[in-house]
Amino acid sequence: MEEIKEKWTGAVNTVTVGATEKEGGTRKSTVTIGGETTLPFLHFEGSIPYRPALALDVLDNLPEEWPEVLKEPYRDVLDNPAQWAALCEEKYGADMICLRLKSLHPDWGDTAPERAAETVQAVLEATTIPLIIWGCDDPEKDNLALPLCAQAAAGENCLIGFATEDNYKTLAVACLADHHKIVAQSPIDINIAKQVNILISEMGYKPEDIVIDPNTGALGYGIEYTYSIMERIRLAALDGDRMMAMPIICDVGFDSWRTKEAKALKEQFPGWGDEGVRGPLWEAMTAVLLLQAGGDIVNLRHPMALEKVRKQIDALMGNGE
């Protein structure tokens, strides 16, 4: 039997998020992702220098609509993003925090941009791990708030999202000025994913400072599209396409906890079994599948999902890596 290895010519870009004191920030740890020269976890064929990183979501407003299963682990801190973030770091062992500035959104509080910057500061003070800052998905408010947040986090080398095809300039300028990494988001569309990368690069942003968010979808709700788009992005990167060589972030927690299968109580659907397992498993399985398609950072919500996904990563990195 002849050996069978692909000869890839490209590699995924290596991206580091977070900055220690020595690097001008205040983080105790940083997270480095990317650098793969083969498909996910195929160690026999190429190098996979870094483990995928796992972030836990922290919201800046009380997530009343969350199911009980998801609220429970954060019971006492849901109204305090700084304490919440600290809990994610200290108790649940997240690699990173993904701070979601949801309250900025006109429908979800319409809070002042300055408040977002203060929250960023408070979370940075309460934690020592790298920070992802996630906008509210209202372009106007994000354009007002994210530059303030970028400034407030200057030196911390955060990952800030998100730039889209129609709204990328303000964020790109802000991230450039304060030396942050940027998330390039596209609506489950590989052509637009590439286009956003080109647009941001043209602003003078190094392709090596971009992370792709292909828009995740959840298990049972469009994940097959994302899965294939991510596989195609990774194959293009390995074939040397520089505008597809960015590592990928998967916003799994947000999308999977919107699904009925994750949220529904056993009383409502007795045939679906215990929601205490089903919800976190729906989230974790979405994550594990997308890791197989090339995910480098996964945003999660339930601590059990984090723990179990990490265990899978351990097993897949395995054997003295």
């Binding site: 052509n191 590439k194 286009q195 080109i198 195609r232 293009a236 396409d241 520089r242 597809m244």
Partner: protein, 261 residues
């Protein structure tokens, strides 16, 4: 598409002069410009600049190697010239070219096998270039069989079905396209196919357009590589568009920029 620059060729007067005068700077400037425009390899042809073809080839190799590690495509019908060029290169070069004539196969194939080089093979034998696609495929098959016997896998062979000027042999481009799609079925892995593009439009008025149109067609038939001038923007834009249309590169609105990024 694997782009081999055609510009370092003694048939161009600037290059001819530079070779004669051993003017390294001129050659190096062309080399870097061509690479910047998208060339992955540089064809080196001493042309008729000097009687000392060996000396000229070695000088060309050394001059270009000073400024780039790009693959060099040593272009000469004489084995001694290629061998001297190969020694000057060390590694990372393409032999351009052998034919299916026994004497050529007997010398060029062992050199490719020893050095690990890729090799361009013209589909012509002692009877010349066959006028049909079938004839060219027969010759291609002989070349692949001989190469395999010499320990060279088909994916290291670039078959060249030989481009003739459109204003001389208008029936030829179609036969070339047939040849390209046929030879891809010969073996697994398939042999690569290369064409030298500018011969097609020699002496015509619409050089760039004819070259572009034919390049697109040849890509559709399965072309892997072309020897051309990457500074011809229409030609390169056509090539890049072809890569998108063949689903070899992921489309985006600014795919031309993306390719050049």
């Amino acid at each position: 598409m694997y782009i081999i620059s055609e510009r370092i060729n003694g048939m161009f007067s600037a290059v001819k002069k530079a070779i004669a005068a051993r003017d390294e700077a001129t050659i190096q400037k062309i080399a870097l410009r061509q690479i910047k425009a998208g060339a992955r390899a540089l064809d080196l042809n001493v042309g008729t600049a000097t009687d000392d073809q060996i000396g000229a080839m070695v000088w060309l190799v050394e001059s270009v190697r000073e400024v780039t590690d790009a693959t060099l495509c040593l272009d000469n019908p004489k084995f001694e010239v290629i061998k001297a060029g190969a020694e000057a290169c060390g590694d990372n070069f393409i032999i351009n070219s052998t034919t299916a004539k026994e004497a050529d196969l007997a010398t060029f194939l062992p050199l490719a096998a020893e050095t690990g080089a890729k090799i361009i093979a013209l589909t012509l034998d002692k009877n010349g270039v066959p006028n049909t696609a079938e004839g060219r495929v027969e010759i291609a098959a002989q070349i692949i069989i001989a190469a395999e016997a010499a320990g060279i896998t088909p994916d290291r062979i670039y078959l060249d079905p030989i481009t003739l000027p459109i204003n001389v042999a208008q029936d030829q481009p179609k036969k070339m396209l047939e040849t390209i799609s046929q030879v891809k079925l010969l073996s697994d892995p398939s042999p690569r196919v290369v064409i030298g593009l500018s011969n097609l439009s020699q002496g015509t008025k619409e050089k760039s357009l004819l070259n572009s149109a034919f390049l697109a067609m040849a890509m559709g038939a399965g072309l892997d590589a072309a020897i051309l001038d990457p500074e011809d923007k229409l030609l390169m834009d056509t090539m890049i568009s072809g890569e998108v249309l063949l689903n070899n590169t992921i489309y985006s609105n600014d795919y031309l920029k993306a390719w050049r990024a």
